[in-house]
Symmetry: C2
Subunit: 134 residues, 2 copies
């Protein structure tokens, strides 16, 4: 379980546990995680430590939290193909928080910025597309 003597922060140990459960399907996409207080009690941590673990997984794009509701495993969104036009280039980056809010992008989701030869650019949410070269 979680061992204070190990040379790894408690909140990281909890994040590791939860991440494993998600990757192994014990926590299925769409399913609800226990509440923060419940996790705190289960693992003998204070709530701030639990929140750090949750925040870490959120920044990895694995989970989403809604105030007053709870935390659930993000379901995999179906991705639509996005062709990289000839001569265009693409960079990936994280959106700023205002940009994220404006485009309604979840925490932990990068964006793809396509730059056309003529200088114009477009931003796409990274969880809804995959780049394709036909």
């Amino acid at each position: 379980m979680i061992d204070p003597r190990r040379d790894r922060a408690l909140y990281r140990q909890l994040a590791d546990l939860l991440r494993d459960q998600i990757n192994q399907g014990d926590l299925a996409p769409g399913s609800q995680l226990p509440s923060e207080s419940s996790l705190a009690q289960t693992y003998g941590l204070a709530r701030p430590a639990v929140r750090q673990a949750i925040a870490l997984l959120r920044s990895e794009g694995l989970i989403t939290t809604s105030r007053g509701y709870g935390t659930r495993v993000r379901d995999e969104i179906e991705r639509r193909p996005l062709e990289l036009p000839a001569g265009a280039s693409a960079i990936v980056r994280m959106p700023s928080e205002p940009e994220r809010a404006a485009l309604d992008i979840d925490d932990g989701v990068p964006v793809i910025e396509i730059r056309m030869p003529d200088g114009r650019s477009a931003v796409h949410p990274g969880d809804r597309v995959f780049l394709l070269r036909p």
Copy 2:
């Protein structure tokens, strides 16, 4: 400045201020941010609130922090072109924390996963490449 009466969390207001200073070049790439305690005193916040602001900007890939040293604005790394091979596809995502540590990728930096038609895949750090279709 920072106004508790505004309908925006104090740490978000501080993050907005610092983000603007970075984007406008008042805080140049490579330059050092004031220490957390200094920021706390300057803006009349407690250190946890300052740390939340810092964490937010870090998750956006704007800054990096080193324990015992401080926080500085990330320099723009020169990106090398990465050709998307014919028939291949690419998805972008955040690395898990262990993956991030293993590949020595900064906080707030996504990865590009290239999937070949034969099923093999390769992962590239999102801040060192740009995708190109010749």
